[in-house]
């Protein structure tokens, strides 16, 4: 049988905004979406701690009951599951969404509520992926992925509540508080 090799990745570059972004792309939840509405705010920093501007941030998540659109037939039709936005001059970015529920894991496990984040930018040859978890200590203790991460660094991918309906996190590409990330 034929086996093909995946096409090589190349950097996003700085000029993607017109090509990839439309005004509402950072809003994942329609007016009828079930669940708790939240604003998820992050900041992307380079090795020296400087905010990275003009990076593309992609978000993939389950609906309030842990169901993924396209995978689970009964997923909430008002939740897109996918959003994308770009970082501002200070490296910050924001999504309007709902709090995800506990999605199915491997076998019959459940996963702790989490967001999958993909980062593309000038200076990144490939995507950098990480998970950001909702601050829910009970669920985290049983999560199959979180439990495998180095204990010293895994709290870096737990978002912090910063007021009602607001979660915040950092993505540090390097330095003493580098974010645990998955190679693409």
């Amino acid at each position: 049988m034929t086996r093909l090799t995946p096409t090589p990745s190349q950097t996003l570059g700085p000029f993607f905004a017109h090509g990839l972004l439309r005004p509402n792309d950072g809003n994942l939840a329609g007016p009828d979406a079930m669940g708790e509405r939240i604003v998820l705010r992050g900041i992307l920093r380079d090795h020296e701690g400087a905010g990275v501007r003009d990076a593309l941030i992609e978000l993939w998540q389950a609906d309030a009951k842990g169901r993924y659109p396209g995978r689970d037939a009964d997923a909430d039709p008002a939740v897109n599951g996918f959003g994308r936005t770009m970082t501002g001059a200070d490296g910050s970015f924001e999504f309007a969404t709902v709090m995800p529920g506990a999605a199915a894991g491997t076998g019959n496990k459940r996963q702790a509520p989490h967001f999958l984040i993909g980062v593309f930018a000038a200076g990144l040859s490939r995507r950098v992926t990480t998970r950001i978890y909702a601050p829910d200590a009970g669920a985290l203790a049983d999560d199959e992925v979180f439990g495998e991460l180095p204990p010293a660094t895994r709290e870096r991918i737990v978002a912090k509540a910063s007021g009602a309906g607001r979660l915040e996190f950092e993505i540090n590409l390097g330095g003493a508080r580098a974010t645990p990330a998955f190679s693409d």
Binding site: M1, T7, Q10, D54, A122
Partner: protein, 232 residues
């Protein structure tokens, strides 16, 4: 549902490393918190589905006052998985500079003309054959500011979403034989020469439009294959 799909991690060689001397900007961006391979739970095995937009989104050259300037080309992109199966309903987006090598973007401050009839982006879904076609122009080369004489060769940026978030890919495609290709730090950041060749458009007259546009084809292979080998 595709929970049995296999997505192997990318390897340096066929893929550019995060940190590469060919592309200086990677020095402060390459992730230092990198772990082993990504997990493959239902989160990574699912992904967004897309709606088709108007056909006009696949032409970059039909401006309000006429055709865009430059060499018109028709590019047929075919999206396949690692088993060579055409991927239907894949979202493919492109963006590029105009014929003068100028981007429609505030960050591009170079003194080069914009073309009011050229729209810098295109977008479409693949059909049953895994194909989507764009009508555009061959972009110009452009200098990278403060780089000591580096010019990007003509290239088209391309983004694709396949059957799951794990097959997501962003890349750039190039014109074979361009003298700037061997000098380009971004293209040369891919170590394997055969892999660099896979980013070259293929000239094919049958993909063109008579007396209007030259024809090119490009096969985009997204990560992902069946867990059980297919017969044949």
């Amino acid at each position: 549902m595709a929970d049995n799909r296999i997505y192997e991690p990318f390897q340096d060689g066929p893929q550019p490393p995060y940190l590469t001397k060919h592309y200086g900007r990677t020095a402060r961006m390459a992730p230092e918190g990198l772990l082993a391979a990504s997990p493959r739970t239902p989160t990574e095995l699912a992904g967004p589905k897309w709606q088709n937009g108007p056909d006009a989104e696949k032409s970059l050259v039909h401006g309000a006052k006429g055709l865009a300037l430059g060499q018109l080309i028709r590019v047929v992109v075919r999206v396949l998985d690692e088993d060579a199966r055409p991927q239907r309903g894949a979202l493919v987006e492109i963006w590029q500079a105009n014929a003068a090598g100028k981007y429609q973007h505030p960050v591009d401050q170079r003194d080069a003309p914009l073309d009011e009839n050229f729209r810098s982006w295109g977008r479409g879904l693949t059909d049953d054959q895994g194909e989507v076609d764009f009508l555009t122009i061959r972009p110009g080369a452009y200098p990278v500011p403060s780089s000591g004489g580096w010019w990007r060769p003509p290239h088209i940026h391309i983004s694709a979403y396949g059957d799951s978030i794990s097959s997501r890919l962003v890349s750039q495609i190039y014109f074979p034989g361009d003298p700037l290709n061997p000098l380009d730090g971004i293209l040369q950041s891919i170590p394997d020469v055969q892999a660099r060749e896979r980013l070259m458009l293929k000239h094919d007259p049958s993909a063109g439009i008579a007396e209007l546009a030259l024809g090119y084809r490009f096969d985009l292979v997204l990560r992902g294959r069946a867990a059980t080998p297919l017969e044949g």
